[in-house]
Amino acid sequence: MSAGTEMSDRAAALIALADDDFAVGHVLTSVSGFGPSLEINVALSSMGQDELGHSRAYYAAAFDDDRDAINRAIYERAGSDFRAAGISWLYDHAWEWLLIKSYLFETADAHRRGAIARGNDSVLTEMVTRMESEEVYHLDFWRGWLATTCENDQAADHLQPVLDVAWHAAQELFDADRFAALVEPSVLSAAAESWKEEAAAELNQLGLVVPDKAAGALPTGGLERVMDEIHAVQPMAPGRW
């Protein structure tokens, strides 16, 4: 796609998927220096790199594999032009935030990808299928650590308040308008319902309660922080990277 042409709806939807994975990947690769243990830190970085790789695949599909266009899309767009869900930008290395965000994101994204893979777009289906071998690990990691963390009797004190604001925010991942070009709204909303049912059951089993309504807004500042970081070097060292 060259500058000046109108972006197709399909490209815009792919970019929305890419932006979600970029946001999640940026946060994970950044906080992996400051997580709870060396073992966890190593895994956080792997998963962050995976998500960045997935974002690159989606951007490449939107921009016909044009490397420069991909980097411009990431490094030259204003924060407000990104189409990631609010929860994707949550940027906090405290375990309760990282754990709940990642659990919700990964489980929701799995259902979302499933809905996309069932569509008519064979290129997209193949792309999403190739991501599975990495995503299986991500799901196992966050579900395994959620269960392990919840064995600690202080867990609910830390995790419940986060869930209270994050649960509803996660539903933006299934925004029908944003992804209409890739998946039928009814299919996407069915995926959202399956996700909610499964995740709620799992959380309840671990002693956490899915809130009826959001206890408050998600903390802000994540998007701004990511933008500040990715824009840090260019003004210092302008040029083609």
Binding site: Y137, T148, E151
Partner: protein
């Protein structure tokens, strides 16, 4: 916290090889840690984690452990060696 010894099988048919250890509260999190720490780059078809407490180490010193090593009568002499040479070595 538990220490887990990690064993990796690179390809089908290979022995499981001890590669080191990770620290984790349980077997699931130990496996999650071991995969990313030890097999990020390499081919792998099998991964074991074993609670260090479950590894039983023989306490014999090296000379006892290797006492079979010197037993000539268990050795093959190679092709062409006459049979009575084997008995002669005892």
């Amino acid at each position: 916290m538990t220490i887990w010894e990690v064993f990796v099988q690179t390809e089908g048919g290979d022995p499981f090889e001890h590669v080191g250890q990770v620290e984790a509260p349980n077997g699931d999190t130990a496996t999650l840690a071991a995969k990313e720490h030890f097999v990020r780059r390499d081919p792998c078809v099998g991964l074991w984690v074993v609670d260090r407490e479950d590894v039983r180490s023989a306490s014999w010193p090296p000379d006892v452990l290797a006492s079979g090593h010197e037993k000539v009568y268990r050795r093959s002499l190679g092709r062409g060696a006459p049979d009575d040479v084997l008995a002669g070595r005892l």
